[in-house]
């Protein structure tokens, strides 16, 4: 009886939660196919706003900048994250470790207005010494994004590092592999799933960042979120609906693949566990058989 009740409770809770989470997005998608300029009055289905969107050169430029920055950010923050994770898991308890952990944790929670302001002040101050920092273009945005994305990549990669069995590395060392060879031949293949996850995570975060980028970006480097924000501030526009629909579509494709890999991994783990259990059982049977003899 209690079990039945809790099942119903679970279904109700999850149905409400998913409605809350998806209703606004769903409405956005539906109205992106509306012909009328009024976002909330339905007239006729059409792809008019998609056509408008694709012929908008400003958006095209912003997408290009965002993609460039996101790609460079993802690459760099995976490298920094891997180094930091390696240091935190393998080297451990070095001088200044707690400061290091704090510096890696803080960017995840700190309000973005503070981080953005602080980084801009840094660039302005550095610009007085090195003029290169003063024109705040793509590279400045890249540095800012790498700084906060590295915090996340470190966390993701670190948790995978912890699961590694160090004896495999030691075996490779004993067989004469140097530390660099061990890293590329043993460690890297083992942490690859986390590297991919960290790459995608920092890519999406860099694509999505608005506040920090608004502080840093100079007049020529408007990213996609900045463009969306300024257009939303002016009022509702069906073009943004169309853009949002495309973003949601891309994200759901990626989510589907993430889910697929998760299911695969769990199946593999389950079958490994089943095999181990079977082997143990066989072993036990054999030993009882022997003891009987």
């Amino acid at each position: 009886m209690r079990k039945n009740k809790s099942l119903i409770a679970r279904i109700v809770i999850l149905a409400c939660a998913l409605t809350f989470l998806y209703l606004p997005i769903l409405m956005l998608i539906i109205y992106s196919f509306n012909e009328s300029k009024m976002v909330t009055v339905w007239t006729k289905a059409s792809l008019h706003w998609y056509y408008e969107l694709f012929s908008d050169s400003q958006i095209g430029h912003a997408v290009l900048i965002s993609l460039t920055v996101a790609f460079m950010t993802a690459c760099a923050s995976v490298v920094i994250g891997t180094l930091a994770a390696f240091v935190l898991v393998r080297v451990r308890s070095f001088t200044g470790e707690s400061l290091f952990v704090l510096l890696i944790t803080a960017p995840m929670v700190l309000p973005e207005v503070i981080t953005g302001l602080a980084l801009l002040m840094l660039f302005v101050s550095l610009g007085e010494i090195i003029p290169w920092f003063a024109d705040r273009g793509i590279f400045a945005i890249w540095i800012a994004h790498v700084t906060f994305c590295s915090a996340y990549t470190t966390v993701v990669i670190r948790s995978r590092f912890r699961e590694l069995d160090i004896s495999i590395e030691e075996a490779a060392m004993d067989l004469g592999a140097g530390p660099i060879k061990v890293f590329f031949a043993v460690i890297l293949p083992a942490i690859m799933p986390a590297e991919v996850a960290a790459f995608l995570l920092s890519f999406t975060m860099s694509m999505d960042d608005l506040v920090i980028t608004s502080f840093i970006a100079g007049p020529d480097s408007t990213t996609l979120p900045m463009l969306i924000f300024s257009s939303v501030r002016r009022g509702l526009s069906p073009e943004i609906n169309a853009l949002a629909t495309i973003i949601v579509l891309i994200v759901s494709i990626f989510t589907f693949f993430a889910w697929l890999s998760m299911v695969k991994k769990q199946k593999r783990m389950a079958s490994d566990a089943a095999k181990a259990a079977k082997a143990a059982k066989l072993e036990q049977q054999r030993s009882t058989f022997h003891s009987k003899i």
Binding site: R10, V155, I240, V251
Partner: protein, 328 residues
Amino acid sequence: MSTGFSANMSFIRRAFQAKRRPTKLSKPHNRTWRDYALILVPYLWMILFFLLPFLIIFKISLSVSEIAIPPYSPLVTFEEGAMQIILHLENYTSIFTDEDGTYFRSYVKSLQVAGLSTLFCLIIGYPIAWALATCKPTARNVLFMLVIMPSWTSFVVRIYSWMTIMKRDGLINDILMGIGIIDSPIQMLQTDFAVYVGITYCYLPYMVLPLFSALMKVDYSLIEASYDLGCRPVKTFFNSLIPQTKSGIIAGSMLVFIPALGEYVIPELLGGKGSILIGRILWQEFFNNRDWPLASAVAIIMLIILVIPIVWFYKIERKEQEKLYAQK
């Protein structure tokens, strides 16, 4: 915090690895110069681009606004061979003794909005996390992905979606009027209500993830035992479930509260003239008034308020980490 899916992948991993076989503990090996070289790259990056900027805004907060490039007065000046260091405390005093009390009120209001939103996230997020953690593994995977997927889409787009349905002629008003609860549309946009909804909606996944991870590790036999001993569900909840998920509750609350305190985008788009939160003040001082020193002082005070929650979050993170080591 437009940090996309942010909120800590570690929570997910921890949750799913909870029941795995422990692997051999790696012992820290002897440190060589190579290790120090490895430490140096991420360490220097974070010090240069994360720690140093804060020292710089602290420095700038002690100067005054000037019409110059950069638009603030220098701290150290040389005049006729004498070195002068001038520390202006005007920015700080003006924040506290401002006649309208705008700054002080906006700090209080930010604390209130962030605190209440955190509470809403907790109240909504806890049942969701519980439902996720206790359902069948196959369904769990799908539902889990569905719950966090919205946070991977664009932050601004999610707020925009609420603007469309909370409009005067938006979906919510249409439904309420259709049922006959209200006669004329209610103003929802540009009110504090909209800000609460927006923050709760955007930050909900960051609350659900750590709670989910904590609930996955709960020893449900203890709950059964408490039932068998005759405890009512409410008592069981407060005496058994809450203490077992304490670290998840704290981590989730901090992940919502800290970034929500400085939130700029949500009050700007959903809130009205009255929703003056501190993130908005900072933005205005910086972009509209171009008063960099004052904006820096506002940021420094916000940082001081946040020191305690950040350290709390950091301690929880470290404790979880040490627990993992101890397990292995």
